[in-house]
């Protein structure tokens, strides 16, 4: 079927054979006049990885437009011009499910370069599906003295109700705040009122489509941004600007995996991971897999795979000393992942194994809190 746009604006599909090309479609309209940037405002850097926050879909080709300069962003979200002046860089234009550890490394390097250039803060626009993974990856790879803010939109930017404008504005405000860590800034409620600032290692997408899908797990958000007043409030837990010295440790071990245990899971499945450097198990409850899985786990560990236990409960801490299967897992050499989120434990394992060759030291690092991912105290329940 050929899609025809009628003068009324409606599209209809008709048989291709019914169509005759009279003339090619008119070229895209030229961009709006360049937006003036206020040189007195703080300089922020925006790195785009392909999230829809300020991109436009080209309906002729179905592709997301790759042009993404300051003008494009400021045209899409004019209020940003009142907050800062912007350096922009298009790193990738991909859907976030197509992210890879290699891209995380490139992203970390790009953010590092921007901070080194001297910007007040960095904003990374990102698809929401795997935003939390990327935020965790950068948390481990980068020591940052300034805010590194991940932002996206849950409702596409081509709709008047999109959350992109408010999230974008709140991200820019957060990027100029006193924060000094990697964070995700997204709607805190279904209202256009407040954005939450989530720590990069404690955040999770908890809803497929709602604006307030992102939630901090195990701790409250480290801060909020009030959209109407643009006031940033940081909790005592938030790492402050300038606390950490800029450093990049961007090695990752990609041969790591995350699997979720389920009742009746075949022990044979674990054979797939033979030869892997690391494996994170998302176990049940306090951190369990069935007794049948213990021998293959034991074999993996004996062959040199680091195995870390986390819980599919998401909330709470792993404790493998309570029940028999847990004790058997510990005896087999499984490392308790504390209160780490399963996917954060995976990303951390990639980073730890990429940077530490000694298995004992690597195991110790996995249970040490590096960037707020593994807390010594369970100060907050559900």
């Amino acid at each position: 079927m050929a899609v025809v746009k009628l003068s009324s604006g409606y599209n209809i599909g008709v048989e291709k054979a019914c169509c005759t090309l009279v003339s090619p479609a008119p070229a895209s309209s030229p961009h709006a006049a360049p937006v003036r940037q206020d040189l007195k405002l703080p300089e922020l850097s925006i790195i785009s990885t392909g999230g829809t926050i300020a991109s436009r879909i080209d309906y002729r080709t179905g592709a997301v437009t790759s042009q993404f300069d300051a003008d494009d962003i400021l045209t899409a979200i004019p209020a940003l011009a009142e907050i800062g002046r912007y350096r922009t860089k298009v790193l990738y234009t991909i859907l976030s499910e197509n992210m890879t550890p290699a891209i995380w490394q490139e992203l970390a390097k790009a953010v590092y370069d921007e901070i080194k250039h001297g910007v007040t803060g960095v904003i990374v626009t990102h698809g929401t599906d795997t935003m939390a993974y990327s935020a965790a990856a950068l948390s481990f790879m980068l020591d940052t003295p300034v805010p590194v803010i991940f932002v996206g939109s849950q409702r596409s930017a081509d709709r008047p109700s999109s959350d992109n404008a408010m999230n974008g504005v709140c991200a820019a405000v957060a990027a100029e705040s006193d924060l000094g860590e990697v964070a995700v800034v997204m709607h805190a409620t279904t209202n256009d009122d407040i954005c939450a600032i989530h720590r990069g290692t404690r955040v999770r997408k908890m809803h497929t489509s709602q604006r307030d899908a992102f939630r901090s797990i195990g701790i409250p958000p480290v801060g909020t941004v009030d959209y109407s007043t643009r006031a940033v409030t940081l909790t005592d837990e938030a790492v402050r600007r300038g606390t950490r010295k800029l450093a990049l440790h961007d090695k990752l071990e990609p041969h790591c995996a995350l699997i979720q245990f389920y009742p009746g899971m075949s022990p044979d499945l674990l054979k797939t991971y033979e030869g892997y450097k690391g494996l994170v198990l998302s176990g049940t409850g306090l951190g369990h897999v069935s007794t049948a899985l213990i021998p293959p786990v034991k074999k993996l560990i004996a062959d040199g795979t680091q195995v870390v236990m986390t819980s599919q409960c998401m909330n709470g801490r792993v404790c493998d000393r309570v029940y028999d299967t847990g004790r058997d897992l510990l005896a087999a050499g499984v490392i308790e992942g504390g209160d780490m989120l399963p996917e954060v434990a995976l990303v951390k394992q990639m980073w730890v194994l990429g940077n530490e060759r000694d298995p004992k030291k690597a195991a110790a690092l996995m249970t040490t809190d590096l960037k707020g991912e593994c807390m010594r105290r369970s100060a907050h329940g559900l």
Binding site: G9, V14, S29, R159, A165
Partner: protein
């Protein structure tokens, strides 16, 4: 008025809610709830976005003149789709089939592949900022030799509770939108075509009924005037009046233009004169409150700004409506001053300060800040420019006020407001699908059939065919009930007992059928129907009501009752002779409490009376 001479051209757009089980793009029911029953609230801001061609619609831009915060009510009956928190479900197939049925009734051609579009609407009535709509069929025929251009199915907007608060129970109910060609030339034409389309829609038996379930938009222009779209005419009876008043308005605007030309009025780069200080001691509460007051001198406009252009509306009101888009409450103009606390001295001082001559009008725009006031001043200036231009009637979307006058809403939207709904897949309408669409009988045809086959009086036949109770009537007839009994009960009896205070909404179709069948079997007299239905409306079951009000009386029992009554009143009968029948009928009927048909009672009673009279 000779509407042909003024070159009246009109077309209509009819929006009819469909009575489907679920909404157009989610699985919520299509029922409306009481605002007081809302279960939650949230708020959002909306921003205009570009079309796929990279342009912003002018109507959307107008709505963006001020930042507006919209509040929404959620209900037990609404879901995340209405909240714009979840992608839409596939296009509701029941609604599509109904759309195709209506298209077939008008002899239209279906679109081979239907594409759902987003029509930009940022007045808050859609949480997403757009209304989903799809062109389903084109080219239909009307009896006045006019044509239907398009049939679309689209989602109903949220209902305004007040100001910027909206109720989400209505959002997403399927609508069919039918657009005629500009094929009407008198106000009465427009009304007749609207009535005809309404009849065809109701012939499906699957459209919603009642106030607000059908809305007409009217497109009107006259020679040298402009196309104006009047939105939301709910009462059919007002359509002709709306057309008459719009013709009057466009003519008046043309006359004002002619007068301005005669006066050689012009408006080149007028000054934005700050007169805030002039009114710092004013008694006018509006001006006193204002942080900024700007004046605009309109040379040659004196007397014209205040001239009535349709009942209750002046050129000044039009300017005021434009200004309100910036958030101000309205404007003042010298054609109406001194009034509203502004004194004659203040007006004189103003005229002197801005150097306004006798032939000039002065507009005062006041607002809460400089930006808002400047915006409103510009709007008034723009509207005044239009009055002077060679197209003095602006193309506009207007809303209907009570009685049929109209007020400015926004510019006519352009094609830029449409872009594809990428979350809904296109739907193919192939030959098999189209051929499978069954066409219902038109209500007018049905009325003719009732008249011919059932022997109903023509007026009753038509009333029955167009009634909401048509399905129940057909069910009763199929069950062997006499047409006259059924139509009388459904059209008259129920109306009468409602008028007398019975809550007839509580009477189920099954209850009415049960009563009709009891009458058909002669176990209940038709005289007892109103009383029984009143009892049912009051909460009684049908059986209990019939037992109480029309207990079963056998023929033997009836004869015994009659014999006793006749025996007790022998003297009376002897005295009145056959004239005793009437008064005694009442006595017997009261005794048997409506459970026996009057005709039977009358026959038996007559026999017994004759025995008395004959045996004398």
């Amino acid at each position: 008025m000779d509407y042909k001479a003024v070159g009246l051209v009109a077309g209509i757009e009819i929006h009819q809610q469909l009575d489907t089980k679920e909404k157009l793009f989610c699985h919520c029911p299509t029922t409306l709830l009481d605002n007081a029953d809302h279960t939650g609230e949230f708020f959002r801001y909306l921003r205009a976005t570009e079309s796929e061609m990279g342009e912003i619609d002018r109507a959307a831009q107008e709505e963006m003149k001020r930042v507006r915060k919209f509040q929404y009510y959620t209900y037990k009956s609404t879901c995340l789709v209405e909240n714009d928190e979840e992608p839409p479900a596939p296009l509701n197939d029941e609604a599509l089939t109904l759309g195709l049925t209506i298209a077939k009734l008008f002899g239209m051609t279906p679109i081979p592949q239907i594409h759902v579009m987003r029509k930009l609407v940022i007045d808050g009535s859609n949480t997403s900022g757009f209304q989903r709509t799809a062109l389903v069929a084109v080219n239909g025929a009307l009896p006045n030799s006019g044509s239907i251009e398009t049939l679309c199915i689209e989602e109903e907007a949220a209902q305004r509770v007040k100001d910027d608060i909206f109720s989400l129970d209505r959002l997403g109910i399927p609508l069919v939108e039918i657009t005629t060609s500009p094929c009407m030339h008198t106000p009465e034409d427009v009304q007749q075509v609207a009535e005809y389309i309404g009849m065809v829609l109701r012939s499906t038996g699957s459209v919603k009924r009642g106030i607000g379930t059908i809305r007409q938009d009217v497109n009107i222009s006259i020679r040298d005037g402009a196309r104006v779209e009047i939105k939301g005419v709910q009462e059919l009876d007002l359509i002709a009046e709306v057309v008459r008043r719009e013709v009057q308005r466009q003519q008046s605007l043309l006359e004002i233009h002619a007068e301005l030309m005669k006066r050689h009025a012009s408006l080149e780069n007028p000054l934005q004169i700050d007169v805030t200080d002039l009114f710092k001691d004013t008694k006018s509460t509006v001006l006193k409150k204002a942080k900024k007051i700007l004046a605009l001198v309109l040379p040659g406009f004196a007397g014209l700004v205040g001239r009535e252009i349709q009942p209750g509306r002046r050129l000044g009101t039009e300017m005021s409506d434009y200004a309100k888009k910036c958030g101000v409450g309205g404007i003042f103009h010298t054609d109406e001053l001194p009034v509203y606390g502004v004194t004659a001295e203040e007006v004189a001082r103003l005229r002197e300060f801005v150097h306004a001559g006798e032939q000039d009008a002065v507009i005062l725009v006041s607002g809460a800040n400089e930006k808002q006031t400047g915006c409103a001043w510009n709007q008034v200036y723009m509207r005044a420019k239009v009055a002077l231009s060679d197209k003095p009637v602006p193309e506009e979307t207007r809303k209907m006020l009570e009685e049929g006058s109209t007020a400015y809403m926004r510019p006519l939207p352009g094609a830029e407001r449409m872009y594809p709904e990428t979350d809904v897949l296109p739907v193919r309408i192939d030959e098999a699908r189209w051929n499978a669409v069954a066409v219902p009988e038109l209500l007018t045809v049905r009325a003719g059939r009732f008249e011919k086959d059932l022997g109903l009086d023509p007026a009753i036949a038509r009333q029955m065919a167009f009634s909401e109770r048509l399905p129940l009537f057909e069910l009763a007839i199929a069950g062997g009930i006499k047409a006259n009994l059924a139509s009388r009960t459904l059209l008259a009896t129920i109306k009468e007992i409602r008028r007398d205070g019975a809550d007839t909404d509580k009477i189920s179709d099954d209850a009415i059928l049960a009563v009709l069948h009891a009458v058909g079997k002669d176990t209940v007299a038709k005289e007892a129907i109103p009383e029984i239905l009143v009892a049912v409306a009051g909460g009684s079951t049908v059986e209990a009501a019939m037992q109480k009000l029309a207990p079963t009386v056998s023929r033997d029992e009836l004869e015994a009752v009659i014999k006793k009554i006749v025996a007790d009143r022998k003297e009376f009968i002897v005295q009145k002779q056959k004239g005793a029948l009437g008064p005694l009928m009442g006595v017997v009927m009261q005794e048997v409490r409506g459970s026996v048909d009057g005709k039977v009672v009358s026959e038996l009673l007559k026999k017994e009376i004759e025995k008395v009279v004959g045996g004398k």
